[in-house]
Amino acid sequence: MSASSLSAPSFRAIASSSRRALSARHAFPSTVPRLAKLPTSSGTRDKSAVGVFTPKAAALFAVTGAALFFYFRSEKDKLQEQRRKEKEDQVVGRPQVGGPFTLTDHKGKTFTEKDLLGKWSLIYFGFTNCPDICPEELDKMSAAVEKLDKEYGPIVQPVFISVDPARDSVPQVARYVSEFHPRLVGLTGDYATLKATCKAFRVYFSTPPDAKASDDYLVDHSIFFYFMDPNGQFVDAFGKVSTEEDVVERVKKEIARWEGETGRKV
């Protein structure tokens, strides 16, 4: 009850103020004739503006406009092209590929991720009983490394890591790698260490844990080979579609970039 009695006077106050506003507007008409004189003065100004706007000026305006349009368009194209080039081999965040591992090389010595530091490396995961893809990829890798050796010396290390612990013993791997690049290192280990290494490198393989050395089976596995920098960081991966030239070009590009940043090739 008390609320409505309070609100009533305030409503009246608003109403009276709006009425006052209306009467104030009624007072304006006396000023209107004075305002009506303005169009003539602004009209003379328009006339002088139009006087400057000659056909010559119009042509100049059009030509300048067109020139600016084409200039900015070509600048934009250039910028987009530059961005595309940068994007081409830019690594968007470094993928977490690689990590610590302890395996045995084909000479029977312990080999860890630290043995890869200070050199570029190409790492392929495969198995010695691989019908055709592994030898093809390893041949491609070996040929690429050979070309890079000629250019830079032995700064790119080729590595083969087995995904077939049951059959790929050290002597088996040693026989296998001997027919590829002379510096190719062949690594193997037991099931658990190889599985862990493959996991670190995001490599999938399907060897059954209970496979015997005498079994005749194939291993389904990822067939990328990895390109790692001298700090052991992942740079790129090459698949079956990459040619030997692609690999060489990519490695060269990265070495050039590395040299630009650090002043060294490794």
């Binding site: 010695t128 055709d132 030898p135 296998y176 579609v241």
Partner: protein, 95 residues
């Protein structure tokens, strides 16, 4: 050592480049014969390619033969799919 010797004579050594090459060559010979006979699936040719099938089975491990035979059949089906995938890969690379 004698044990390795006998094993070697009966089964091809996958670690040997020469043995791999021999296997691939006898496979290619057999598949060429199948192509001539217009047979896609190995084994469907009857006795037509017997003289190339023998060396193929001697020079390649059983698992390799299964793999090559399966792949031959799949390759036929994949022709179209691969071409399409290649186009898409190119388009993605140019973007």
């Amino acid at each position: 050592m004698g044990w390795f010797g006998t094993k070697r004579s009966e089964a091809p050594d996958a670690t040997s480049r020469q043995d791999r090459q021999k296997c691939w060559e006898s496979r290619d010979a057999y598949f060429t014969c199948l192509d001539a006979a217009k047979v896609v699936k190995p084994g469907d040719e009857g006795t037509t390619c017997a003289d190339t099938k023998g060396p193929y089975e001697r020079n390649c491990a059983k698992s390799w033969i299964d793999y090559f035979n399966k792949r031959r059949v799949l390759a036929e089906q994949q022709q179209g799919v691969l071409a399409q995938a290649q186009n898409q890969a190119n388009a993605a690379r140019n973007r």
